[in-house]
Symmetry: C2
Subunit: 217 residues, 2 copies
């Protein structure tokens, strides 16, 4: 899907990175695919295949991968180094929670400001991020050449706001609303869909409970 790299691989990359940070903290210099696989509940094969797509340096037989080099390579692969500016649109509860989320910086994402239509929040600061009126959105996007928008408006405004964002020049939308939004093919969309996550969790739970019931009979 992305050149050669699969979506699943991209999903796993941050997990490797997280584990590697921990290992570095413990002073580990090398780590094998077997160890990483065990720590993350994966197979060594998939770890090796995934890492082969991000890394520059080869792993060494008998010892594995150099932790520091691998961290550099994955960070680079994921673009954590060249910080990306983003706007956040819709500063209700969830929007403010995300505005205040300090973790984004670790992933190379820099929210430059929040935007909202309500005078109740406009002008306020959340964790140092100013909330501006929606009217200034298009100007900010164009002037600062911002490519990424985080969408946290009420779902009934999601499509209209998405349209406006695309018109203003946004190229990637991180959609936290439950609404399904339609965008042109040359715009990236990522849906953070609670319903679908919950569906999977419920299914897992049901399966687990069913298995237990079968055993207890």
């Amino acid at each position: 899907m992305f050149g050669e790299v699969s979506l699943q691989t991209f999903h796993r990359m941050p997990q490797y990175l997280k584990t590697l940070y921990e290992l570095r903290k413990e002073g580990r210099e090398y780590v094998s695919s077997v160890t990483l696989a065990e720590m993350l509940n994966l197979t060594p094969s998939i770890v090796k295949k995934d890492l082969s797509q991000a890394k520059v340096q080869d792993g060494k037989p008998k010892v594995g991968y150099a932790v520091n080099d691998l961290i550099d390579d994955i960070e680079n692969f994921l673009g954590y180094n060249n910080a990306k500016d983003a706007v956040l649109v819709g500063c209700g509860k969830l929007g403010q929670a995300l505005l205040g989320y300090t973790g984004f910086a670790d992933y190379g994402l820099n929210i430059i400001a929040g935007f909202d239509i309500s005078d109740d929040v406009i002008g306020r600061k959340v964790q140092g991020k100013l909330i501006l009126p929606t009217g200034k959105l298009e100007g900010a996007i164009k002037k600062l050449d911002i490519k990424i928008a985080i969408l946290t408006v009420p779902q009934e405004h999601a499509q209209a706001m998405a349209d406006a964002l695309v018109k203003a020049g946004i190229r990637a939308i991180w959609n936290f609303t439950p609404a399904h939004i339609s965008v042109p093919a040359n715009i990236a969309v990522r849906n953070e869909n609670m319903a679908s996550s919950l569906a999977v969790l419920s299914a897992q739970l049901r399966e687990i409970l069913k298995k237990e019931n079968n055993l207890n009979q």
Copy 2:
């Protein structure tokens, strides 16, 4: 993975449901796999295959599926009818945002209360949900036989809290912290991992921009 039904299928189910609600609102009685596929950017084949796993009633040739019946079947399949109680642990910004999120009820999830260690929030109400001290967590879980926990504590406490929850009898953890948590095999975990979502979004964006650059040369 879950009996016969794939994880991807579970992910798509709530999307079908959402679309079906819209169609019902418009007064549509029947809908074909072709229409659903178009609305959701899928293929008719996958729609038919997915629906075949959730539905009881057969679709009719020439007209498609009865919207109302299909809604019932999917709701039932996903367990939206028999509401599931849950606790939310960690009432910081994100936790409170989720506590106040009214959409969960639509998915059959009922958060009975929030839990936190801080006196600043204990006793407060967020959208009608009371925040209780963590000390009362185990008692509540056992007394009310609660199976699902939403985990929104600071990441450094994630593992310890997960352990406590499992000990108290929780069977499914919806993990909103960036931490990777380890649990016994008979516990369901669903990670709402911002980093991995962002990694995928960035990758999509990069691919799109690259494609454009190639064209413009």
